[in-house]
């Protein structure tokens, strides 16, 4: 492998990786900085992690963000999977093109517009902005991503497996649960994870739809950074990076395991 690589290739790869990961690396390293000043190295320490434990506001934002992300990702996964099933199953139903177009629209819609539209809706409905409105907004945002991930798996799915389950005595909904779902599980899990990550990191839509009691983590970080970067922010970001990295590794391991079992679900 290495022998075939020219110096140019090695440099290009190194440069590319550095471009991607250097900022993150710096952030991680500085989260262990003892110094009060972000730009001055004062030796290794867990000081900011300790401080984080006592920052009630920050901790409550973490909690809110996790709850919003988990709940909206779950709802988005259910709705998105059903939409994907409808789009792939019912062949050509009346209005299929319109339906799939509507599913994909939020993907290309500028977030500011989605956020504004949701804000107008909530105002019109006279809904108090807070936890529930952010959750609903994030479900709207992430559902189409789940649909795309699950749909790409369902397109290669052998329909006769589901028919075999009907034939053996399963009602259609049960056949979907016991045959289709286990086989597309890696795609559904990937969709959930994507939705979770998108929700966790969303700032724009949350800023339109959240209220005083429900400051999500990105909102909190953003408002604090405007007052100057505290090393504590680095610490919380490092934790977030660790969580996301672990989840990604776990997911790809699970996918690899089911691929080794010869499960076609992982190869779609």
């Amino acid at each position: 492998m290495l022998r075939g690589m020219s110096t140019f290739n090695v440099v290009a790869v190194a440069f590319g990786l550095a471009f991607l990961y250097l900022p993150i690396l710096i952030l991680v390293v500085y989260s262990f900085n003892h110094s009060q000043l972000v730009t001055v190295w004062g030796g290794w320490s867990l000081r900011w992690y300790r401080e984080l434990l006592h920052d009630e506001a920050m901790l409550s934002s973490v909690w809110i963000s996790l709850r919003v992300a988990a709940l909206s990702a779950t709802v988005a996964t259910v709705l998105g999977t059903l939409a994907a099933a409808a789009l792939t199953r019912f062949g050509r139903f009346r209005g299929r093109l319109l339906f799939s177009g509507m599913i994909y629209a939020p993907l290309v819609m500028p977030e500011v517009i989605t956020g504004l539209a949701l804000l107008l809706l909530f105002v019109a409905l006279d809904a108090d902005r807070g936890f529930w409105t952010v959750t609903i907004a994030h479900t709207t945002l992430t559902m189409c991503f789940v649909t795309i991930v699950v749909q790409s798996r369902l397109i290669g799915f052998d329909r006769s497996l589901e028919e075999a389950a009907w034939d053996l005595g399963c009602a259609p909904w049960k056949a979907f649960l016991v045959v289709t779902l286990p086989l597309i599980a890696p795609a559904v899990a990937a969709g959930w994870l994507l939705a979770f990550a998108l929700s966790l990191d969303d700032l724009v839509i949350a800023s339109f739809t959240s209220g005083p009691g429900a400051t999500t983590l990105p909102l909190r970080i953003y408002s604090q950074v405007r007052l100057g970067v505290k090393p504590e922010i680095n610490a919380i970001c490092t934790i977030l990076i660790a969580v996301v990295a672990l989840a990604t590794v776990a997911l790809s391991l699970a996918a690899k395991r089911s691929a080794l079992r010869g499960d076609p679900a992982a190869q779609g």
Binding site: D158, S160, E163, A164, W166, D167, L168
Partner: protein
């Protein structure tokens, strides 16, 4: 296997069923009875609607018109999972995430049977299909033949009234297919379940089935035992589809016992009313070759041998007649000398050798 002398009512009665896709008929006004405990084959060329008919029986397709009766009751209101039929899919459709045992037990688990009963019936079925010791494997760890048997076990373990098989042997190699055909027949005799097999392979249908329905373009051409369909086809199309056939066109003579052809009057039986156009259908093995014109009794038409092919058990001979038509004759290779290409010969057959077809 069709029980004769037994006035059994039909298990399945298909009444004037039609189904079209996008305006193009796939099954067209088809009526058919399937008896209890028979091995029934749906035979026809690709695209003639066999699978569509099978899927309507299973409930995956809904007929546009007509009815399907089970024991005299319309089954239209029953969705696929409520029909006492099971299907073996052409692709087998084994669940890749379940073991062989899990696949076979799947249908029984939907019936809320006790654990012991399920385990017992699964084990019994695995033994019947020579799958012992493979229960813990996943489908992708099996050979094609084993997968085929798992698919069969999974469908049979539910003890269906009707087993539907869509080209069950298409994916097997020739030798395995021939063995499996006999196994299927033995299995059907043993279990006494009604089997309906779909195939486009006429030899397969002849070997396994007690009765065959020959389909063409969504319509039924003929239903009967393999011998009936082979010996007494109802139309030129059926005669040509099942095996090789020679056709001689002519006008029916007085009394319906002769056919006036370009080769002269040919003696036949049961040709019908005089003056109508008809075709004499002759199987290649029903014709004999003679070097000299036989004296009387049998029909004799002269010709010239154009080709001769040695096939091991038989030889196939092509003979050109005076009007340019080519007839096929097959002869068992029993040591007698074969004519050579270019030889002048007589084709000889008795009046009872062929059937006269009106269409």
């Amino acid at each position: 296997m069709a029980k004769t002398g037994h006035a059994a009512a039909a298990l399945i009665r298909i009444e004037a069923v039609s189904k079209s896709f996008g305006g193009i008929p796939a099954v067209d006004d088809l009526s058919l009875d399937i008896m209890d405990d028979e091995f029934f084959a749906l035979l026809g060329p690709s695209g003639c609607g066999k699978t569509t008919l099978l899927r309507m029986l299973a409930g995956f397709e809904v007929p546009d018109s007509g009815r399907i009766l089970l024991d005299g009751t319309d089954i239209a209101p029953l969705p696929p999972h409520r029909r006492p039929f099971n299907m073996m899919f052409q692709s087998y459709a084994l669940f890749p995430h379940l073991t062989v045992e899990g696949n076979v037990a799947f249908g029984l688990k939907q019936e809320n049977l006790s654990r012991d009963e399920i385990a017992g019936r699964v084990a019994e079925m695995l033994a019947l299909l020579r799958l012992q010791g493979m229960g813990a494997r996943k489908p992708d760890q099996l050979s094609g033949g084993q997968r085929q048997r798992v698919a069969l076990a999974r469908a049979l373990v539910k003890r269906p009234r009707l087993l539907l098989l869509d080209e069950p042997l298409a994916a097997l190699d020739k030798k395995l297919r021939a063995e499996t055909q006999f196994e299927l027949v033995a299995l059907q005799r043993k279990l006494r379940t009604t089997f309906v097999i779909v195939t486009h392979d006429q030899d397969e249908a002849m070997i396994v089935a007690g009765r065959i329905a020959v389909m063409n373009r969504g319509r039924l051409e003929q239903v009967g035992s393999p011998a009936e369909i082979y010996e007494r086809p109802k139309s030129r199309w059926v005669a040509g589809f099942i095996g090789d056939i020679n056709l001689l066109e002519g006008k029916v003579g007085k009394g319906g016992t002769t056919l006036d052809t370009v080769h002269g009057a040919i003696r036949v039986t049961n040709a019908g009313s005089a003056g109508t156009t008809a075709w004499l259908a002759l199987r290649p093995e029903k014709i004999a070759l003679a070097m000299k014109k036989p004296r009387s009794g049998r029909n004799a038409v002269p010709g010239v041998v154009t080709e001769i092919g040695y096939l091991g058990d038989i030889s196939l001979c092509k003979v050109r007649l005076a009007n340019g038509a080519v007839m096929q004759v097959s002869m068992p290779n029993s040591g007698a000398e074969l004519p050579s290409a270019g030889a002048k010969v007589w084709l000889v057959w008795p009046a009872t050798a062929g059937v006269v077809l009106k269409q």
